[in-house]
């Protein structure tokens, strides 16, 4: 059983049974533990800590590790940083103990067993820890009681002992924890999210709620981030904007770019659409912009795009460079997989000859072999049509007089064909129609042109089926 502050004042302590606690204080309000919700809340707190440092991780069921290396000066020093974290979390309704030390182990020890809010100056870890109980080393209960049996109760007593007999008697864990606490053994913190090398952060003097204000904050962040990206010669492929609300919630807005971008104005336009759609609550007090994915900036081709040049590869590159801003804007709204160009594939099968590829992909081909006419639109799968009258199975290579498609009859006035397309034996495993197809381009009474085919050969001794595959104009 865990307890709240008022319950402790009434004499109830953690670990009591509920019946005992009720006997002491009948007005006790008991709430069933919800470990899953606790876990989620802790994860939210880890995300919330992202405003202080990108290196934040949860520890155990109720702890947070923040690696504030290089971050403290942004918040006015270590003391101010600690009081800022403690103050904000208290305002959000959390009870907490906080400590700052050289190593995660020492900080854990001090926050759990030391004075709340203690800050250990660099290289003073030993002095800070010697008087703490050995349980502060994150040792399990059996080890702690075994140590107690031989009279070791303080870390200081443990620290001066020879390491070899200690390990032989109490296992390797004791030595490892000691080394972690004193920094002899590195204990890396794995952050919630992969740390972005490019990151920019601002704290708002007053909580902001207006979209314009958020936009202005974003402009400052983008200016700062783009300067860093630029000096590294890189451009952002993905940007993540985190808005920290006063009530502890975090709003994350992510945008992507098809090619690396290092231009604040262009990046601001990508966010433009998305900035209106969130609920600022009681206001936003801090903003962080990270570039989790960045790439080296391509060398700029300065020649403007005039007409298709003789080199398709170069033309493609120029086109991509010119259209990248537009493709990014479109892609961020409808999805990058939906902004495509039709690339040629070497295949006889019409449905495989053109494949949608990302619009700015580099290796696109647009050279289709010359040949009989192809339709303007191809149905994503051929639709069965009913030939009327049904031609005899051994009938010659002629299309039917009339066919019914989507419940409408079409008289065939003229037909051009057949063009025989055989299945590709090397692609036999692919789904789709397997048999030989004979294609006709037919014109109906209204002058509309259809691309129909007969599936199978008369002599293949199978039922012949007719399909409509494409529309001209």
């Amino acid at each position: 059983m865990a307890t709240g502050r008022e319950a402790e004042r009434a004499g109830i302590s953690a670990g009591m049974t509920l019946a005992n606690a009720r006997a002491i204080q009948p007005a006790l309000r008991a709430v069933t533990a919800d470990p899953v919700a606790d876990r989620l809340q802790l994860d939210r707190l880890v995300a919330w800590s992202g405003r202080y440092t990108p290196w934040a991780a949860s520890e155990g069921a109720d702890g947070l590790f923040l690696d504030i290396t290089g971050c403290a000066h942004l918040f006015g020093g270590e003391k101010a940083l600690c009081s800022s974290i403690a103050g904000r979390l208290r305002n959000l309704g959390f009870a907490l103990r906080i400590a700052l030390a050289d190593t995660p182990g020492a900080a854990w020890a001090l926050s759990h067993y030391g004075r709340n809010g203690s800050i250990v100056p660099p290289a003073k870890t030993v002095e800070a820890l010697v008087s703490l109980p050995v349980a502060a080393l994150r040792l399990d209960n059996t080890t702690v009681s075994a140590l107690a049996r031989v009279g070791i109760r303080r870390i200081g007593e443990l620290h001066v002992m020879a390491r070899a007999p200690l390990s032989a008697r109490f296992g390797p864990e004791v030595g490892k924890r000691l080394d972690q606490a004193f920094g002899a053994l590195r204990e890396p913190i794995s952050p919630r999210m992969p740390s972005a090398p490019f990151r920019s952060h601002i704290e708002c003097p007053e909580p902001i709620a207006l979209r314009e204000d958020v936009g202005r904050g974003l402009d400052r962040l983008l200016d700062d981030l783009c300067k860093r990206l630029d000096s590294a010669g890189r451009g952002a492929r993905r940007l993540c904007l985190s808005l920290y609300r006063v009530d502890g919630e975090i709003i994350e807005i992510a945008v992507g770019a098809a090619r690396p971008v290092c231009d604040p104005i262009r990046l601001a336009r990508l966010f433009g659409e998305r900035l209106g759609g969130f609920d600022p609550g009681f206001g936003i007090e801090a903003m962080t912009l990270t570039a989790p994915v960045s790439q080296p900036l391509p060398t700029a081709d300065t020649k403007p795009l005039l007409a298709p040049t003789e080199e398709p590869e170069k033309h493609n590159r120029l086109l991509a460079q010119e259209l990248a801003p537009l493709v990014d804007r479109l892609g961020n709204r409808v999805g990058f997989d939906r902004v495509v160009r039709l690339s040629a594939v070497a295949s006889h099968l019409p449905e495989r000859a053109a494949r949608p590829r990302p619009a700015l992909a580099s290796s696109l081909r647009f050279a289709w072999p010359c040949g009989p006419a192809r339709p303007l639109r191809l149905l994503d799968r051929p639709e069965r049509i009913e030939p009327i009258p049904s031609p005899p199975p051994e009938g010659g290579d002629i299309p039917p007089e009339r066919f019914r498609w989507r419940r409408v009859d079409h008289y065939i006035l003229t037909a051009e064909g057949p063009e025989r397309i055989a299945p590709e034996w090397w692609a036999a495993g692919l789904p789709g129609l397997r048999g030989t197809r004979d294609y006709w381009r037919v014109e109906d009474g209204e002058g509309r042109h259809f691309w129909i085919f007969r599936h199978g050969l008369p002599r293949e001794n199978r039922t012949l089926e007719w399909f409509l595959h494409g529309l001209f104009a």
Binding site: L305, L306, P308, P312, H315, N316, L319, E322, L323, L326, L330, R333, V334, R338, V339, V340, R341, L342, S343, A344, P350, A353, A354, A359, L364, F366, W368, P372, A373, R374, P375, L376, R377, L378, L379, D380, R381, I398, E401, R402, Y411, I412, L413, T414, A415, E416, G417, P418, E419, E443, D444, G445, E446, G447, R448, H449, G470, L471, F472, A473
Partner: protein, 251 residues
């Protein structure tokens, strides 16, 4: 001042009021019969034109093939008849210049069209909105096109007799239907192109042309300048008699 001069002057005044003095050079269709009829000798760039009818896609591809720069074609994700690269080239649109954006709904479609129309690096933007484009949406599109100076084309669904006269801020409205190809041009195709309305042009009834695409060369010509001739109501129907049957074998 003669009567025609007054009319010319009034037209110029209206153009200034409508902020159309900055209209960049128009896109000629390359079809002399039609170009001479249009007020600027071609389709206005920086404006949106509406096409409907069974051959509207082909006509749009032909228009897009006549502008320089990339072409953005906004289609619906739900469509089953996808644009086909090898077929587009036959209408003069090089697939290399084409970017297709598949929009999940009407709002995204109109937004994508607006974004494209505002981008001067594009040559043309073609959209296929699922429903009717109302007056407000058409005005937004038109303003976006004026900003970017891009040729915009709206492919309207259905025959749309009712929507044909719906209020719209679009520059012009065309009806393009397939027509039986003449006997000498079996490999090609024939369109009946009718101009329903065009800004800056007095409304005439039944301004229509027969446009033929040569099956071998892919060139377009105006076969029959049948302006002032009323549309034959029976032309669009399936002939009642025995269908003529001609079979061409491809080599």
């Amino acid at each position: 001042m003669s009567r025609t001069e007054i009319v010319e002057k009034l037209r110029a005044d209206i153009a200034v009021i409508e902020r159309r003095n900055a209209v960049v050079r128009p896109v000629p269709l390359g079809l002399p019969g039609i170009d001479t009829c249009l007020p600027q000798g071609g389709l206005a760039r920086g404006a949106v034109h509406e096409l409907r009818g069974s051959a509207a896609s082909g006509f749009a591809a032909m228009l897009a093939g006549r502008v320089t720069g990339a072409v953005l074609w906004c289609v619906d994700t739900g469509t089953r008849a996808n644009l086909y690269g090898p077929g587009l080239a036959a209408f003069g649109l090089d697939p290399q210049r084409l970017i297709v954006v598949r929009c999940p709904n009407q709002a995204d479609m109109l937004w994508a069209m607006e974004e494209g129309l505002r981008s001067p690096e594009l040559g043309a933007v073609i959209g296929e909105p699922d429903g009717a484009v109302d007056l407000a949406a058409s005005r937004r599109l038109q303003l976006a096109a004026e900003t970017g100076g891009v040729l915009g084309v709206v492919l309207a669904r259905g025959p749309g007799q009712r929507q044909r006269f719906a209020p719209s801020a679009l520059e012009s409205r065309w009806q393009v239907d397939a027509a039986p190809a003449p006997a000498h041009n079996r490999a090609g195709s024939c369109w009946r192109v009718a101009l329903a309305r065009c800004r800056g042009m007095p409304l005439q009834e039944h301004v229509q042309w027969m446009v033929e695409r040569d099956g071998t060369t892919g060139h377009f010509i105006v076969a029959d300048a049948s302006a002032d001739r009323p549309a034959d109501p029976g032309l669009g129907q399936t002939p009642a008699g025995q269908p003529a049957f001609a079979l061409g074998r491809h080599g």
